[in-house]
């Protein structure tokens, strides 16, 4: 719910800055590790957007897979079942590259 509220705030602020009357779509990028449930977030977003310029806007959620790099051998791999161990050299020294982001990418307005 807090995330939905922040998304609405960010979208409304950006739209008002451009003098837009209505937000039609909000594009959000969310990393897999954030564990967001799309249906739930979309429902909360709809509620929070009521009586704002974002009321009725469509929320698009792009889920970014969790991709990491091994700091020992440089192997890049997608984390499956949350196993942070390098499949090539079994190292546990892992750096996260993508999959933790959570941001409003852009909005569409009229």
């Amino acid at each position: 719910m807090a995330i939905a509220r922040n998304i609405v705030n960010i979208a409304v602020t950006a739209a008002e800055k451009e003098g837009a009357k209505r937000v039609t779509k909000v594009n959000v990028v969310a990393g897999e590790l954030r564990g967001l449930v799309p249906a739930q977030l979309i429902f909360c977003f709809g509620l929070m957007a009521e009586n704002t310029v974002a009321s009725g806007a469509y929320l698009d959620l792009e889920i970014v897979p969790l991709v990491v790099a091994c700091k020992q051998c440089g192997e890049k791999f997608r984390v499956k079942d949350y196993c942070y161990i390098c499949p090539k050299c079994r190292s546990e020294d892992i750096q996260t590259l993508r999959g933790t982001e959570l941001r409003v990418k852009d909005i569409e307005v009229e």
Binding site: N6, I10, E18, L33, D81, Y82, L102, E108, E110
Partner: protein, 223 residues
């Protein structure tokens, strides 16, 4: 028309958390964000910690509870600085709530501040409060697969206390399995087995606290 935004959704929270961190550093507080499921033993751990630290490091507590002030009442007999935050319907604490709590606690009289988050293994992981470390309790009655079910929280925490090990014989919880699962999600996580009832592992937990305090502020006690 499309408008580029590229704004981090939790940016406002992160900014407030950074301000809190500054306040804590100024007052020489080591700050821990304690997270677990409801009933894992957060408040009982705080009681044991208050007893064990008595006369050594000074403990302060900010506790988040959905409706009641029972946690704060339980801690009152230890004469600690305690602030109770009632979160209403919110399922986690955020940095702003901590900022509001700060004027109600005399940070100059605190060495270790433990922020007891709302019992929940999902939402609290996403919100920084300004802490030095996130730490977790997992009790053996919850099951050894939890690290795989709630990976973000286990991934971001520095220490796991496996609590209620006195009950191991009554459950199908495998310490070996639980630790292997933690290792997959977060190989760097420290793990201590404890029982707040028998007192097992409490001294290891206290020495973990001491080490972290010394790491942040050096061995010299504060004047």
């Amino acid at each position: 028309m499309k408008i580029n935004v590229m704004t981090d959704i939790l940016e406002a929270n992160d900014r407030i958390a950074a301000d809190n961190t500054d306040v804590f550093s100024k007052h020489r507080n080591l700050v821990l964000n304690l997270m677990s499921s409801p009933g894992a033993g957060k408040t009982t751990l705080l009681e044991k910690t208050a007893e064990a630290l008595k006369g050594k490091l000074r403990l302060g507590v900010i506790t988040g509870d959905v409706e009641t002030s029972r946690d704060a009442e339980r801690l009152q007999k230890y004469k600690l600085p305690v602030v109770q935050l009632t979160t209403g319907s919110a399922c986690h604490l955020d940095a702003n709530m901590i900022t509001y709590a700060l004027p109600h606690i005399d940070l100059k009289k605190v060495d270790i501040l433990i922020i007891e988050n709302v019992g929940n293994l999902v939402c609290p992981a996403g919100f920084k409060l300004g802490e030095d470390y996130k730490i977790m309790i997992l009790s053996v009655t919850e099951g050894d697969e939890k690290p795989l079910k709630y990976p973000q929280m286990f991934r971001e925490s520095s220490l796991l206390l496996i609590n209620k090990i006195d009950l191991l014989k009554y459950t199908n919880f495998s310490l070996k399995e639980a630790k292997a699962n933690v290792k997959k999600v977060n190989p760097k996580m420290d793990i201590i087995d404890i029982s707040c009832i028998t007192g097992d592992g409490i001294s290891e937990w206290i020495s973990w606290l001491n080490q972290r305090y010394q790491k942040k502020f050096g061995t010299k006690a504060r004047a």
